[in-house]
C-alpha cells in the first residue's frame, strides 16, 4: 500500500517535470543550466575582479547562475586553453586577455585567440604609461628616449613578466622612434606593484605600468608619470601627455585588453544572447562605477571591429616580441 503510494507519487512528480519542461520549451531554451566562466589568472587580480563583477551582472540578465572558476598557470595559458577546449555550447565562457596573444610567437603553444575562440566582446582596454621616480632627472618622455638613444644605462622595470604587454608597448614605441628596443636594461617583476616598489627603493629608473596602478604613489609624490603610450589621454589624469602628442608617434595604438570569449563554434543564437547579456552588464551603472573607481579603461568592441582589433593586436604583439628578442 505504502509502496503503491510512493510509486504514484514518483509518477506524478515525473509527469509534473515533463509538463514543466514542455511548457518552458520555447523555440530556443538556452540557457537552461548554470554557466561556467573561466578566469585564466588567480583570484584577486584585475582579470579576476572585472570577470567576477561582469559575471554577477550577467547572471541577472540570463537568469542562470554563473560559476566563476580560476584556472591560473603558465601566464594564463592553462586557462585560455581550457576556454578554447570546452564544448562550444555556450555553457563555458571565459575572460581572455592580451597575454593570450603571446603564446604562439614565443613558441609556448599553438593556441591563437583569433582562431580558437568565438569572439564575444572586449570590455576593457588599458594603455601603458611610463613612470619615473619623483626626483628622476627625466622631465619628459623625450628626455628619457634621448638618454636611451645615447647609450646611457637605463634600467626599465617591465611591471610584470618578461615580454608582457607593457614591455611590448614600450618596445614598439622605441622602434617607432628609431631606437633599438633592446637598448634599455629590462628588469622583470612579479607585477606592477613590485616593479614600482623596486623603483621607489632605487633598484630601477623607469617602471612601465598603468596610471591606475601607480595612482597611490603618484598621489604620495613618490613617482611621476612621463607619458601614456598611445593617442588618448586618461580621463582620470588629463594632465599626463600621450606619446602621440609629445613625440608625434601617432601610429602607436597597442593597448592591453580584456574580453569575454567562448570556444570556437558556438551557435549564432547562443553567442548573440551571451553578447547581449555582456552588453547589459557592461552598460550598467554598477559596472561603470566599478571600472572608474578601480581605474580600468572601459571599452566596448564587438563584431567586425573586434575581429580587426584582435588581428591587429596579434600582429603587433608578434612584432613587439620579435623586437625584444623573445619570439622564435
Amino acid at each position: 500500500m505504502r509502496y503503491a503510494f510512493k510509486r504514484d507519487l514518483l509518477k506524478s512528480i515525473a509527469a509534473a517535470i515533463v509538463a514543466v519542461a514542455a511548457a518552458s520549451q520555447p523555440a530556443f531554451a538556452w540557457p537552461d543550466k548554470p554557466i561556467t566562466m573561466i578566469i585564466p589568472f588567480s583570484a584577486g587580480g584585475g582579470t579576476d575582479a572585472t570577470g567576477r563583477m561582469l559575471a554577477a551582472l550577467m547572471e541577472k540578465e540570463l537568469g542562470q547562475p554563473i560559476n566563476v572558476v580560476n584556472r591560473p598557470g603558465g601566464n594564463g595559458l592553462v586557462g585560455h586553453s581550457a576556454i578554447a577546449a570546452a564544448a562550444p555550447d555556450g555553457y563555458t565562457i571565459g575572460v581572455a586577455t592580451t597575454e593570450s596573444m603571446s603564446y604562439k610567437p614565443t613558441g609556448l603553444s599553438e593556441f591563437q585567440p583569433t582562431k580558437d575562440f568565438t569572439h564575444l566582446a572586449v570590455y576593457n582596454t588599458d594603455s601603458t604609461s611610463v613612470v619615473v621616480n619623483a626626483d628622476s632627472k627625466f622631465e619628459t618622455i623625450s628626455d628619457l628616449l634621448e638618454a636611451i638613444k645615447s647609450g646611457e644605462t637605463v634600467r626599465v622595470s617591465t611591471g610584470g613578466a618578461f615580454g608582457g604587454s607593457y614591455q611590448i608597448a614600450f618596445g614598439l614605441l622605441l622602434k617607432d622612434r628609431g631606437i633599438d628596443p633592446m637598448l634599455p636594461t629590462y628588469v622583470s617583476s612579479q607585477g606592477s606593484a613590485p616593479g614600482l616598489q623596486e623603483m621607489v627603493a632605487g633598484g630601477v629608473d623607469v617602471t612601465l605600468t598603468t596610471l591606475a596602478e601607480a595612482a597611490s604613489l603618484i598621489q604620495a609624490g613618490k613617482v611621476r608619470p612621463l607619458a601614456t603610450i598611445g593617442d588618448k589621454r586618461s580621463p582620470t589624469y588629463p594632465d599626463v601627455p600621450t606619446t602621440a602628442e609629445s613625440l608625434g608617434a601617432t601610429e602607436l595604438t597597442f593597448s592591453s585588453w580584456r574580453g569575454v570569449m567562448a570556444p570556437a563554434g558556438v551557435p549564432q543564437e547562443v553567442a548573440d544572447k551571451l553578447r547581449d547579456a555582456i552588453r547589459q552588464g557592461a552598460d550598467s551603472k554598477e559596472f561603470k562605477e566599478f571600472m572608474d573607481n578601480r581605474g580600468f579603461g572601459v571599452a566596448w568592441i564587438v563584431g567586425e571591429d573586434l575581429t580587426s582589433f584582435l588581428s591587429a593586436s596579434e600582429s603587433e604583439m608578434a612584432t613587439g616580441l620579435r623586437e625584444i628578442g623573445l619570439a622564435k
Binding site: 583570484a43 587580480g45 609556448l108 632605487g202 633598484g203 597611490s216
Partner: protein
C-alpha cells in the same frame, strides 16, 4: 572625531557585517583547501552593496579570523592551511597527539589575537614612517632577507641539521619547476601544461603533511590521539597561563612579524619561519622543539597574525600590496573611494580611524568565535582515528583539487605524500622542504633582479648601505654560534690538557 568614529561603527550594517564576516572567515579558514585569499575574493561582490566602512570591515574581520582558523586543521589533522602555518603545524599536531589539542589551539588563538593587536597599534601610531622605511627595500635587501629566512629555518624540526638542509635543497629544487622565473622560460615541465605554473604549493603541503600521516597510520594503526579528558576543562585559562610564561617570545614574535610583514616583498611566510627559528635558537630548552612544546607556537603564532595586519601599512600608505589579500583589498578601497595614499590619513581621517577601530574589534571578536570553533573542531580528537582518517583523505583530495580546479594537483598531492612518508621514516623533517618551495622563487627572483639591474655586478648585493647591514646580520647569524662553539671546544681542550 571620536563620535564620528563611533557612529561609523555602531550601525546595524557594520555590526552584522563584522559578525557575519567572522563566521564566514572561520568557516573558510578551517576547511582545508579554502584559503583566506579565496575568502577575500568571494567577499568582493558582497562589499559592492555595503557602505565603505562595513565593506572594509568584512575583509579585515574575515582575513584575521581565517588566518587563525587555518591553524585548526593544521593542529587536528596535520593539514596546514597556509605556508606560514606550516612553520608550526608539527609542533601543534604533536601537542594534539598528546591530548592537548585545545591547549595548542588556545595558544594559537590568543597569541594570534595579541599579534594582531600589536600590529594594529603600530599601524595606528607609526604607519606612515614605517611605510617610508619599508619602501626603501630593493631587491638586494630582499635577497638577503630571504637568505636570512632560509638560514633561520634550516634547523626547524630537524634532530640532524644536515638532514634539514637536504630537505631545504629538495624544496628549492622543486621550486625551480615552471615558467614563473624572470625569463619566463618553462623549466623541468616535461611538456606538461599543468606544470607551467610550477608545483602547486597547497597540494604539495597537504600531501607532505596530511597524506604521509595517513600512510603512517595505515602502517601503524596504534597511533591515536592522547587521552581527550586532559583537554577538557577551562583550557582557555590554561592557554593564557602558558602564554604568560613566555612574554618575551610573545613580544619578540609580534615585533618581528610587524616589521617583516610591513615589507611588501617579504610577508607572513618569512615572518613565521624566522620567528620559529629565533624561538628555537634563543630557547633555554631547544631540544623540546618538535615534541609538542608551546614556546615556538606562542612566538610564531603571534608573528603570523601581526605580519598579516602590518601588511596593511604599505597598502594603506602607498597602495603597495604585500600579498594577494591586500591586493584584493586595495581594489575594494578604490571602489569605496577610500583611495590608499598619504591623503587617506589626512582627508579621510574619521573613516580611517573607523578602520583602525575595526582592526581592534576583529582581533577581539576572533577570541569568542575562535573559541567556539575550537570547541566544535576538537570533537575530532574524540572520534576513533580509523573513522577520521578516510575523511581526512577525502578532505586532502578536495582541498588539493579546489586550489586550481585541477586534477593534476591531486596527483601532485599523492606523489609528495608518498615521498614524504618515506623521507620522514628515514628521519628527514618535511617542514624545511615546504620553506624551500615558498622562498625558492623569491630567492631566485631577487637574485636575478639585482643582477640584471646592476648589469651583472655581484657587488650590487652589498653596495647599498641597507643591504650591507642585512648581509652583516646574516654573517653574524651563521658565524656567532660557530665561533662560540669553537671557543667552547678550545677552552674544553685547554682544561683537559
Amino acid at each position: 572625531m571620536l563620535s564620528e568614529v563611533i557612529a561609523n561603527i555602531l550601525t546595524t550594517q557594520t555590526i552584522i557585517a563584522i559578525i557575519g564576516a567572522a563566521i564566514f572567515g572561520m568557516f573558510m579558514g578551517a576547511i582545508p583547501g579554502l584559503t583566506a585569499t579565496m575568502a577575500t575574493a568571494l567577499l568582493v561582490p558582497v562589499t559592492f552593496f555595503l557602505d565603505p566602512v562595513p565593506a572594509i570591515a568584512t575583509m579585515i574581520t574575515a582575513v584575521a579570523v581565517a588566518i587563525f582558523a587555518g591553524d585548526i586543521p593544521g593542529c587536528l589533522l596535520r593539514m596546514p592551511g597556509t605556508p606560514a602555518s606550516a612553520a608550526y603545524t608539527d609542533e601543534a599536531y604533536q601537542m594534539a597527539l598528546k591530548g592537548d589539542a585545545k591547549k595548542a589551539l588556545g595558544i594559537g588563538l590568543l597569541s594570534s589575537s595579541f599579534g594582531g593587536l600589536f600590529a594594529t597599534a603600530v599601524l595606528v601610531f607609526v604607519a606612515p614612517s614605517l611605510a617610508e622605511f619599508a619602501v626603501r627595500f630593493s631587491s638586494a635587501e630582499y635577497f638577503w632577507l630571504v637568505v636570512l629566512g632560509l638560514s633561520c629555518a634550516a634547523g626547524i624540526g630537524a634532530s640532524d641539521p644536515l638532514k634539514g638542509l637536504a630537505m631545504l635543497m629538495l624544496g628549492l629544487a622543486v621550486s625551480m619547476v615552471g615558467m614563473n622565473n624572470n625569463a619566463g622560460i618553462p623549466r623541468f615541465t616535461f611538456g606538461e601544461m599543468a606544470l607551467l605554473d610550477g608545483v602547486s604549493l597547497i597540494p604539495m603541503m597537504v600531501g607532505m603533511f596530511g597524506i604521509s600521516e595517513i600512510l603512517r597510520y595505515a602502517s601503524n594503526s596504534k597511533r591515536d590521539f592522547g587521552d581527550p579528558i586532559r583537554s577538557t576543562g577551562s583550557a582557555i585559562r590554561t592557554s593564557a597561563a602558558i602564554i604568560a610564561r613566555y612574554p618575551v617570545q610573545l613580544l619578540r614574535g609580534s615585533a618581528l612579524g610587524t616589521v617583516v610583514g610591513a615589507l611588501p616583498g617579504a610577508g607572513a611566510d618569512i615572518a613565521a619561519w624566522m620567528s620559529m627559528g629565533i624561538s628555537k635558537s634563543r630557547s633555554k630548552t631547544p631540544a623540546k622543539f618538535g615534541s609538542g612544546h608551546p614556546e615556538g607556537l606562542v612566538e610564531a603564532g603571534a608573528a603570523n597574525n601581526s605580519s598579516l595586519a602590518s601588511a596593511w601599512i604599505p597598502a594603506l600608505v602607498f597602495g603597495i600590496p604585500g600579498d594577494s589579500i591586500t591586493a584584493i583589498v586595495i581594489g575594494v578601497l578604490y571602489m569605496k573611494n577610500l583611495n590608499p595614499g598619504p591623503e587617506l590619513f589626512t582627508t579621510n581621517a574619521p573613516q580611517l580611524y573607523s578602520l583602525f577601530a575595526i582592526f581592534v574589534i576583529a582581533n577581539l571578536i576572533m577570541i569568542p568565535v575562535g573559541w567556539a570553533a575550537i570547541h566544535g573542531g576538537s570533537f575530532i580528537t574524540r572520534i576513533p582515528r580509523r573513522i577520521i582518517m578516510p575523511c581526512i583523505l577525502l578532505f586532502c583530495i578536495l582541498g588539493s583539487y579546489s586550489i586550481n580546479n585541477s586534477t593534476f594537483d591531486i596527483a601532485i598531492m599523492l606523489f609528495f605524500g608518498v615521498l614524504a612518508y618515506f623521507l620522514e621514516e628515514a628521519g628527514f623533517p618535511i617542514a624545511p622542504a615546504i620553506l624551500g618551495v615558498v622562498l625558492g622563487p623569491m630567492l631566485e627572483n631577487y637574485f636575478v633582479t639585482t643582477m640584471t639591474s646592476s648589469g651583472g655586478d655581484i657587488f650590487a648585493f652589498v653596495s647599498r648601505p641597507l643591504a650591507a647591514v642585512i648581509a652583516l646580520l646574516l654573517v653574524s647569524v651563521w658565524s656567532i654560534p660557530l665561533i662560540w662553539r669553537l671557543r667552547q671546544k678550545g677552552s674544553a681542550s685547554i682544561t683537559r690538557s
